[in-house]
């Protein structure tokens, strides 16, 4: 059990963040479902997109703050890395369950059937995408953040892309989320996610536990 001690630091550090996240998706759902879109499918897309972003941020926070706190108390980097992997799965499951709960509440009150969101086929790729984004967040904190001017560069690239290819990015994002939510390409999504997870994690492991 001692090997799982780092998860304790995750528990104390993230519990408030997840409560805030849950309240936020609940508010976002209510806002978009009843005031802006008045359509459950579009609203579900919005909260899924928001959850993708949240997973990415949590991943970044992991190696920007939490790892430092842990390393201040202990020096076992490999142990933290393994526990961080476990946490990424837990975090993704919590995010998924949060969305499911919101959908269930909505279904209960309005007797709607939001897309195919009751299908397990949707959940698997969704969890993989959350985990992938979590690891990409890790990658940003561990590798990219150390490159000079990276924040300005990322900002510039995003702004330029939005100005010149805004519509294309929007459509791609929407289509990707739709593909996942409609469970139309489960195996491809899962395969690509697993591939990214393996590559990104190898780099993360090297940067955090081998070369430091």
């Amino acid at each position: 059990m001692k090997k799982l001690n780092p998860l304790k630091i995750h528990y104390f550090s993230y519990r408030l963040i997840f409560v805030v996240y849950w309240l936020l998706i609940l508010s976002l759902y209510s806002l978009f479902r009843f005031i802006i879109f008045k359509d459950s499918d579009a609203t579900l897309m919005i909260i899924t997109l928001f959850s993708f972003l949240f997973s990415l941020i949590v991943g970044g926070y992991e190696y920007a703050i939490i790892s430092n706190s842990y390393l201040s108390l202990k020096t076992d980097r490999k142990n933290f890395f393994v526990n961080s992997l476990i946490f990424s799965v837990i975090s993704s499951l919590i995010i998924l369950f949060s969305i499911i709960i919101v959908v269930i509440i909505s279904n209960y009150f309005y007797e709607e059937n939001v897309m195919q969101f009751s299908s397990i086929k949707t959940y698997i790729p969704l969890v993989f995408v959350f985990i992938t984004l979590h690891f990409l967040g890790n990658f940003y904190s561990l590798v990219l953040r150390k490159i000079k001017f990276i924040k300005s560069l990322v900002f510039l690239v995003v702004i330029t892309a939005l100005i010149f290819k805004g519509e294309f990015i929007y459509n791609t994002l929407i289509n990707s989320v739709l593909t996942i939510l409609n469970s139309s390409n489960v195996s491809l999504t899962t395969f690509v996610s697993v591939l990214i997870i393996i590559v990104v994690n190898s780099i993360n492991y090297y940067a955090f536990a081998v070369k430091y």
């Binding site: 304790k8 104390f12 550090s13 939490i66 430092n68 201040s72 108390l73 020096t75 076992d76 430091y212």
Partner: protein, 294 residues
């Protein structure tokens, strides 16, 4: 009880030597103070001996086993640096619970007692503490860990005089009750000379001198008197520092004074006094700069 042996450890960062051939044996139940200029690599030495960073060369042995292969590093060494960042919203009580999980000898009651003394609320969040409170909290965490080797980086650096005095008193009492090794860097060595057993002086990542506190008290003295009188008396004396203020000259000598020498100086109304440890360090660094050693 634990012993830490450093054998020729070096650390390079971007091809620049941060620590050079540092060798020293930290024996059990002693308090070591490391003195150095701000960029002299003291913190890097602490990082290396605690296993937080890897050395480029050399080996650190913890109880006879290479620290990289030692499985119980985290049970034997506690080093919570001053710049530790806990998440802003984490409560003090949660931090104490974490410490209890990580350190087998953790003393919750003692931590509560010290927090109460410094009036830090257990329910307050880490991000809401001011600089002084954060410094005190880090000190308390280190002290209450009761790890066989406790390492502190400039403890109580941004803390007022009274709080600092109290903390070092607590440290002294706790060390007497539960003997263990402390290794600390400090800028207030003269305030804690009663506490420290051995002193290591670092310059440019190199260990330039190490003394016991008693050695410093015995071997370094100040002679103060009228400039002309004192100048005529100091031929053949090993001088490491000179300070002239008006017509008064103060010199720092590095030798043990014999009884006849003491009598001679007293006869000419030369005042003999103890040299503050910080001054010894400054004079030694000055000498190195004059000689061009770096």
């Amino acid at each position: 009880m634990s012993v830490l042996v450093c054998e020729n450890i070096s650390k390079k960062n971007n091809k620049i030597d941060i620590v050079k051939n540092f060798s020293y044996n930290f024996l059990e139940n002693n308090i070591y103070a490391i003195l150095g200029k701000a960029d002299s690599g003291q913190k890097d030495i602490l990082d290396l001996i605690s296993g937080k960073t890897k050395n480029t060369e050399g080996v650190v042995y913890l109880d006879g086993i290479d620290i990289d292969k030692q499985t119980k590093v985290n049970e034997k060494i506690c080093y919570i640096a001053n710049n530790t960042l806990f998440p802003h919203y984490i409560t003090i009580i949660a931090i104490l619970k974490l410490m209890a999980k990580f350190y087998p000898n953790w003393d919750t009651y003692y931590a509560y007692e010290l927090l109460k003394h410094y009036q830090i609320d257990l329910k307050s969040r880490f991000g809401n503490l001011n600089e002084q409170e954060k410094n005190i909290l880090i000190g308390i965490l280190n002290l209450s860990s009761r790890a066989p080797i406790t390492i502190m980086d400039n403890p109580m650096e941004n803390v007022d005089l009274k709080a600092r005095y109290d903390f070092f008193n607590f440290l002294y009492q706790h060390q007497s009750k539960y003997p263990r090794t402390f290794i600390l860097t400090t800028s207030f060595v003269d305030e804690i000379d009663y506490l420290v057993d051995y002193l290591l002086m670092i310059d440019n990542g190199k260990l330039i001198a190490n003394f016991s506190i008693q050695e410093i008290k015995d071997n370094f003295s100040y002679l103060t008197g009228k400039t002309e009188v004192l100048k005529s008396l100091i031929t053949g004396v090993k001088i490491i520092g000179v300070e002239e203020r008006g017509k008064t000259l103060t010199i720092c000598i590095r030798q043990k004074l014999r009884k006849d020498e003491i009598r001679k100086y007293q006869k000419y109304l030369i005042k003999i006094s103890e040299v503050p440890i910080q001054k010894v360090f400054i004079y030694l660094i000055n000498l190195r700069e004059i000689k061009g050693i770096g």
